[in-house]
Symmetry: D2
Subunit: 352 residues, 4 copies
């Protein structure tokens, strides 16, 4: 209820502040008998790690994970798996002057309103750094998906107004922005650096495709797979919208244009619904797009107020991603993996 | 976990199939001492009722609600409130021929895949008729919001490609499509009827604004108010996307254009974030838009398959809404009311 | 959280006040494809029904159940099953004079303290009448247990100080007190009637045995099967204690006397642990006993206070069970059935 | 659902195996603004620590706690509080020979049946060592109770058949067995050592009293405070029974003897109900007793089987508590503290 737990069957609870001692999570509900190693988790963390390229923040964090429990002789025990990532490169001093100032576009003001106090160092728990625990947990969820060959592909569909023109999954991890179009990637990278140079930031759109999803995953009514995937992705800081299949374009279509005709039990003629009907997967590829706002932290001067309501000027120094898209991609994949693994396990309960 | 319960503190569990004996819900977690009458619930149901105008389905349902429990001498007892709505105008025979056929755009196929059997009469529980229970429950949630003067306004922003050009809250309930722009409403109505005439349907966009929301509502991490509002609205059949504030347009903005400057503790210069920062309300109006697909049920002939995978032709007779927007509006309001009332109660737990 | 829901996977939410319009429940998480009929549910309700013999209350309730949803053509749909039982023989007028008086041993005072108001008619929701919904729901849980041949036997082990001397399962439903010892049953019956005659009531002990339970049911740590069976049975009004296996007698044993030696993978030499070790079933019979207090409602005069704290004298007229044991037995079975069916379904999630 | 989380509003999730890297917990739902220090938590852990006296195990664990998150500048942030306790004195080699043998009275067999594999070192997660995390978490719960002056007193009421004859709270922490009767304590201590000498163990009864509990705590129906306190205490390994107020003795009383007469709104003449009526506190002292079995680990030889079902002889070497009572006392207090703090916070939701 306090918002730090995700999942029905496979439950992850995360903890940690950006500049506290550590971040981590407890994953409960993992079936016994899954092979998992520290290395497999670390690989995922490395994809999300800060400082991985010139278009990401310069904060240096090794983000080394330790498995504290729940794994014995290389296999899951069926007991809670606790993962720990110590914070290292914390320059908390940078933040002392932000103690009483609300950064525009950030959660400083809203968290203060809710809790009456806050860890003002780097946004505390409202920092994107919190997602490190999600990515770690998702490495375990992925093992469950692997057993069904379910594959999640996320990529930069658009950055700074530059839209990808083709889809080549092989190039995604070969360019700094994680686009599926090498030519567009070059332009996106340049646009990010140009914005950074003038102390500004840019936004974009991430597309996520999930392949080999069996038909029949999801729940009726409130826990439709679209609803929960929506919540999962909207729970990532900076995400301002989500759409499935043709998404907002559906508003302009007619029913005869929107409906996906069945060709066989395995195939539909089109996939405008994005692989989901009535909140349950239909066996087609799930297709989603999320809107990512430009990074709130910018170094050019902004007007704001302090905790007394007095006008202040602020330049957010620190070390920030000039565009969130490249580093949100592994986080978005993580949330999708956690969601799908949860539904996959839960589907064992569907029939007597 | 089975997906029929919504909320953390204020929990609603709904039940019922489109052509079963009844629909209804149990609302648990309602504080004791709230005044509520059958009439107040009925008023909300009447706004959602089928057959209310020429642009909605001709199905005749009085949708009369009975309070079975939890209310005594006009006040809530703190015990579960059960609400019952009997089904009446069920023409189940219409559906017998659909027993083994999957309607395109519907959940027939996916539910069959999940459960191995289904109530094929009018979509069973996957029918939009299920939302009657949500609207009934929300009448109680609204009483909690009323005490804080929180106001929810939803309207047709776009139907069949016709976009509203102005916002006049007073006209919403005075036109058949529930637009906030009377001139646009006329054109939308005409477009719906035109589509219906040729056995087709149209989609649209609903905008939802929430006024007088106190700052500080929401939860960290997974249960951000944007995440849960997203899930709440995406749990309505036919909704294919959601965006907050400037939404997908944020992808094209720079940080300096997107950030909302604070002017005072009560006021920001702009509201591009849509009233939410870091998953918690900032005291500004919450602004959301949802994409509504054109109705899947259309009377013009479509190709599909039966449960053996054999090709079939289908004309979905029945009585259907040619556009879901007008009747989804009260449902969207209901989901927002349930979500906000839940957070409002939960906020009592924020501080010692 | 408001306390009206039970179960993790198989979730039952009950509603209703003793003298309100109706009682009932929604059971969510029932797998699709289970055969169930109104008759099967009614049979269980008839075992719990008031007025079934001279040792039970004279209140006349047919307790007729209606299935409102979730069942189609005789099979569960996988959607919520709502069950409705209308109240009929409500003599609410009897209770008007109790509006401002707190009956000793009842929940009048404590509910008033919690909620600030209450339905004073027959205890409202704190009445034992509430358990009718549990028994109805359990009829469905039993169908799940039946598929594994799991059998629940509950009986009066002791009433009014008279202790059963033998165990003959066949006689339980053949005597009015539901003892497994016919001779003891005669004495128990006489003791109940004697107490009733002088306006008093008696207590007892119920023993519950569960047969054919597979080894490996239960959860680590907080959700041990003993912990949840404990909660399940302590949630029945009037239950003041529970013990497993040798129970409180374990306090006087040595480890060498208490430990159950394994003879084979299927058999232990003794069953002092009562079929549970470390919170998980070991394949032996589960054995529990619960202490049932004498009925709080007695017709002999008692001293008490009213809502202003002023001294009052009270004679609880109404129609009451002079001993709760016979009618709690089916309720205890119901709670055990709900608990076990829940664990049985959940055990599908134990291993990859 | 996997059983490692406790609480509705104040939720604790524990993790860790007896001989793994660490044990710990995440506590979510703690309101912001509570002062808490590592030292306060450590004090509670020291009361539970092994090796504290000659009647407890010789295992040497400092059980030093580290706060990983959720606390900033000495105050709770409203975010999850993660607590870490590293394992140190692990003599895992002792357990290698137990890899394929099931210890009588232990969870080796049942966990193997459930999960198909297990951490056989010291019982893994089924070890009593797991409770260290509960005690740590409860230190925070206690801060919430302190604000209402709620006080929990637990003591050895009976050990090895020796029953306390008086109640003197001041002596509890001054004798090794934690009895409230110094003379009885001497005999209990002697009895424990005598049993230990012959390679055996003894059981006992713990009484728990909770003072200054406000009236009105608890929930209707399934989540009665007696039900949840029952579950909380039955979730401690080795607890075989629980009773409230007069408990099992209620079975032999008449209604006229059992009912507690009200004298004023603040006072009842007697407290046979143990401070709870209808699952909700009545403002009197809550009184409970739990039955603790003799320690399963004994060094005298026992017959058992191995994982193939072959007969084996076993002498459980290791270092074990000859009586669980003294060290379960702080654990029982912890579970009570967690339960009460949860209800206390939840009670903010009772009324509008």
């Amino acid at each position: 209820m306090a918002g730090n737990t995700f999942g029905n069957v496979l439950k992850i609870t995360t903890f940690g502040e950006s500049h506290g001692a550590a971040l981590g999570c407890v994953i409960d509900g993992v079936p016994a008998g899954i092979s998992i190693s520290t290395r497999e988790i670390q690989l995922e963390l490395d994809r999300r790690r800060p400082g991985q390229s010139k278009v990401t923040t310069a904060r240096k964090e090794k983000d080394q994970v330790e498995i504290l429990s729940g794994v014995f002789e290389g296999k899951t025990l069926g007991t809670p798996i606790a993962l720990l990532i110590r914070n290292q490169d914390q320059k908390s001093a940078d933040y002392a002057k932000l103690k009483n100032i609300f950064r525009p576009g950030h959660a400083d003001f809203t968290w203060q309103q809710k809790f009456g106090l806050r860890d003002f160092r780097g946004g505390g728990r409202s920092s994107g750094r919190e997602t490190v625990a999600r990515v770690a947990a998702a490495a375990i969820a992925r093992k469950i998906l692997d057993s069904k060959k379910i594959k999640i592909i996320a990529f930069a569909q658009e950055i700074a107004g530059i839209v990808s023109q083709k889809f080549d999954a092989k190039v995604i991890e070969k360019n700094l922005v994680r686009a599926a179009d090498s030519a567009a990637a070059q332009k996106m990278e340049a646009a990010i650096l140009a914005a950074q140079k003038i102390g500004d930031s840019v936004g974009g759109v991430i597309e996520i495709r999930i392949q080999n999803v069996p038909a029949g995953l999801g729940n009726p009514v409130f826990d439709k797979i679209s609803a929960r995937l929506g919540a999962a992705l909207l729970s990532i800081g900076g995400v301002k919208g989500i759409e499935f299949g043709v998404g907002f374009a559906a508003a302009k279509l007619r029913g005869s244009e929107m409906n996906d005709e069945f060709i066989s039990l395995k195939k539909k003629k089109t996939n405008r619904g994005g692989g989901i009907a009535g909140g349950i997967t239909d066996g087609s590829e799930i297709v989603m797009r999320i809107a990512v706002r430009p990074t709130a932290s910018i170094s050019s001067p902004q007007k704001t107020i302090d905790s007394k309501g007095k006008a202040q000027k602020i330049e957010v120094a620190g070390r920030h991603d000039p565009c969130l898209v490249p580093r949100i991609i592994p986080v978005a994949e993580a949330m999708v993996a956690l969601t799908l693994a949860d539904y996959l396990l839960a589907s064992r309960l569907d029939r007597i």
